[in-house]
Symmetry: C2
Subunit: 539 residues, 2 copies
């Protein structure tokens, strides 16, 4: 049955209006990362401490460090390219009315002997002042990006740029050690890989050099339970090549976990191809084809040296780190208290969720979950948290269209991603939203991301979400709370309501089948009116 | 290169604010169709003459006409079910603050001998007055739905309900003849198909009866070029069964064309199964499994009798017809001047398109299209219109998220549908939006909907759209117009600009490859500044 109360629409209009107000209070910040390989501009729209969204992204290959390996001087051609791009970025910002611009330079600029001349030229031509980051500052912002978008608690961040690579040791979510190494993909390519295709001698020489470098970092040793997080365009490219090869079902890099074996296979593949041939690989970026092999080797050897068997991709990096410093200013260290929690609330806010209904659904689903005896289901604390996330997000698709909003919610969750959640978890949350109204939950195209038994868990979680949704079909919190007891093959659900319960009961009666299928229990619903007390009257 | 100007965001905020204003002027109307099989409630939110959207839909099987074949009396049980649903619908509307409610009854109520008692009971229990439509009124509203959501100009509308079926002859978009026949799926099932599974004798008797009935309608003869449009839940079900069987790539019924052979195959299949077995078919609706066969036979024989080889599904029906009467009131006949045009603009408005940019892109793409010699491409007037539609809609995905908005635009176009466009055309428009920024256009999963050569046409259309998008990358109309000449193997494009042209030229230079690939012509761009004239200064 497709039965929905359109009170939702009233609320939606209200939320839309409120949302406009929020936007009016929002700020925009442009961050330009003048990297050794490419210059990237991101625009972030944000309400401090509340929600944020990257609303624009511009990227231009500049290859600023080209030729620098020889003499530590930026070439005239490279500086011309850089100046042109900065002029265009300035025109972009001017046209957009953005005057809050942070431009940062990294290793290529930092180490160039003609740095002062270059910075003067840039500011005179684009009117954008450039802050040149020291290596440890680069490392700090890379760390901020990782710790605010992954569940990294203990381990390492590895940020591979064109000129340098930063490695950061993270202990209990704090940055403990950091080093900036001259191992950027452009620089290493220029120094070590001259032939096309490369010779095995060149590769071996590079690998040997890397082993020497890594060996000297005494704190770069992964222990069990540690996480290795990788950032940077070349690293994302490696992950994308691996995903394409295996027809990965998500079009999503952040949170992707790649193994050392997979990176080694990429190294072997790229080493066997000329640059022209690499360009034909599915997922290859043309302006990185030449430096991709060096990047893959740098990463593979870093993993081997540290002893880490896998690396989690973080598609945020220094730029986002700079943003978090601003976004979370004034609250101690600019680090989210709980990344997963923040990710769910941010996505919910961006799509103007109906906070009251969502939180009521979360209360009802978790109440059912907690009252069900553990032996009746296959879920644990992680799945409980996923149920919370899906409860909060199940209706965000309404912002696209009320019709089929369950499908739109799933689409937005899959596309928005949820930093801090694994791809399995994102798929499960999306599937819960997908089936929160109707349909038989199936793991569909995401089966390869899931664990054995997840189809059964999905059914159980969907059953709870769907029942809660029926109980609040009138979206007015008429069902205050519930108690659930299992007696023999029956689940007795007492629902305590205040007001007109007929919509809830009508909606519920046609969805008991999914509960019975999920838990093997016959559901019996016992409606109990709640007396108004003095306390309630005050509320 | 991913380079975008985020001036778009400024405009978006502006549009969002304006949009809120539009919504504040919007009205909501609830329409309840008390059919013989099910009661459906739709809520439409609309700004008269401008845009509209079904924001809610509730459906409940009531089977009001159950048993009526015997004595023309609604049974006590059926009336109880009906009254309960109407009470719940009234509670829905009350909770949603909707007081504009139109409830209409059709054949079951119209023909029942206890009609007066029933109507009194409904209004006393739900406080909703019911308007009982005559057969010709039912036909009129079914006609309004078809003529406002398909390109039907000459042909027939066939609206299959539970109690009756209406056939309307449409001539030059006007309703010329209409008849209401007692051939609804519930009624025919009760009268003719008693066994489970049915016997071939029962089927033959029904078919013979239908032939007699249809033969007597002297105007029910399809001539070449005529279109047969089908409406109603059972008809949609038949189409869905056919789509599921062939793994149709679109999850979209409106505009789907099914052939007589396919309907005959559904009849054979359903006739061979018991009702319980039919319930296992992919796409079956449980509350229609029993009446699905009768419906399919009624439709198949209608097609055969009229001589129509195919039928186009219209997922709108009488309810939407009632809405159009309200929406288009005051402008002569409540019929869109141009359904396809209205569909594009409606979708664009719903997702708050940037009207100025979209229309500028449309001007640029059509200007290029019109100036290209016909021998350089494979497109005709239909594709020219698709190029216009894609130009108007290419950015609507920004309402979901700026990131990957090309993908979101395609998603919204595919999901929103575009009434009046064929599924091939919808797929092409969506694919143009999908590839308007980057990527190699491929027909992807929609190949089975397309015509030979459409991959090549898609490439050509995408090339024009992508060039236009670059020319207006700064979204300020800096490129006023252009002229395009083909000389030898070269296309010379003079672009007349006013203001700062550097963003346009920079953006354009990296997308000439798709033009060259699409048309086999080397693109040469000649920027020409436009002098400010007195006229412009006034503008």
């Amino acid at each position: 049955m497709e039965a929905e109360n359109d009170l939702i629409n009233l609320k939606r209009l209200k939320t839309l209006a409120e949302h406009s107000d929020v936007y009016r209070d929002s700020q925009r910040l442009a961050i330009i990362d003048m990297g050794s390989n490419s210059f990237r501009l991101i625009v972030v729209e944000y309400v401090p401490q509340l929600s944020f969204k990257v609303t624009d992204e511009v990227r231009e290959a500049v290859r600023l460090s080209e030729g620098m390996a020889a003499n530590d001087v930026m070439s005239a051609a490279a500086m011309d390219r850089a100046a042109r791009v900065m002029r265009i970025y300035a025109a972009f910002c001017a046209a957009s009315g953005i005057n809050d611009i942070v431009a940062v330079g990294t290793s290529a600029i930092r180490e160039a002997r003609n740095r002062a001349y270059f910075l003067k030229r840039i500011v005179s031509e684009s009117n954008i002042p450039v802050r040149v980051l020291e290596g440890e500052e680069e490392a700090y912002y890379a760390y901020l990006a990782a710790v605010n978008s992954t569940t990294l608690t203990d381990g390492f961040v590895l940020d591979l740029g064109g000129g340098s690579m930063e490695i950061i040791r993270v202990k209990n979510r704090r940055n403990a050690n950091a080093i900036s190494l001259p191992l950027g993909a452009v620089r290493v390519t220029e120094r070590f890989l001259h032939s096309d295709p490369v010779t095995s001698k060149e590769v071996k020489k590079l690998q040997s050099h890397l082993r020497d470098v890594y060996q000297n970092i005494d704190w770069f040793q992964a222990e069990p339970g540690m996480m290795l997080v990788g950032e940077g365009g070349t690293l994302r490219l490696i992950a994308r090549l691996i995903q394409k090869q295996k027809h990965y079902p998500l079009d999503h890099l952040h949170g992707y976990v790649m193994t050392l074996d997979e990176v080694d296979a990429v190294v072997d593949k790229l080493a066997s191809l000329s640059v022209a041939e690499r360009n034909k690989l599915a997922g290859m970026k043309h302006d990185r084809a030449d430096i991709s092999l060096a990047g893959a080797i740098v990463v593979a050897e870093a993993m081997r040296a540290s002893g880490a068997k896998s690396m989690t991709i973080c598609s945020q990096s220094m730029r986002e780190g700079l943003f978090y410093e601003r976004f979370l200013a004034g609250s101690g260290a600019p680090v989210f208290h709980n990344v997963r929690h923040a990710a769910v609330l941010n996505l919910a806010h961006l799509y103007r969720f109906q906070e009251q209904h969502a939180e009521h659904i979360a209360r009802l689903t978790l109440s059912m979950f907690d009252q069900l005896p553990p032996e009746t289901h296959d879920c644990g604390p992680v799945e409980r948290e996923l149920l919370w996330a899906a409860s909060m997000l199940h209706d965000i698709g309404v912002s696209v269209d009320y019709h089929d909003h369950h499908k739109h919610s799933a689409y937005l969750i899959l596309n928005g991603g949820l930093p801090g959640y694994t791809h399995r978890e994102i798929a499960l949350i999306a599937l819960m939203a997908r089936y929160h109204r109707k349909g038989k939950p199936t793991v569909d195209e995401f089966a390869s991301l899931l664990k054995p038994g997840d189809d059964r868990r999905l059914l159980q979680l969907c059953a709870l979400l769907r029942l809660a949704e029926q109980l609040d079909r009138s979206r007015d919190g008429v069902v205050r709370d519930l108690s659930l007891r299992v007696v023999g093959g029956h689940a007795l659900m007492e629902i305590n309501f205040r007001g007109d319960e007929q919509v809830a009961l009508w909606a519920l009666e046609r969805h008991t089948d999914i509960f019975e299928q999920a838990f093997g229990l016959k559901l019996q619903v016992i409606p109990i009116p709640v007396e108004t007390t003095a306390d309630d009257a005050l509320a």
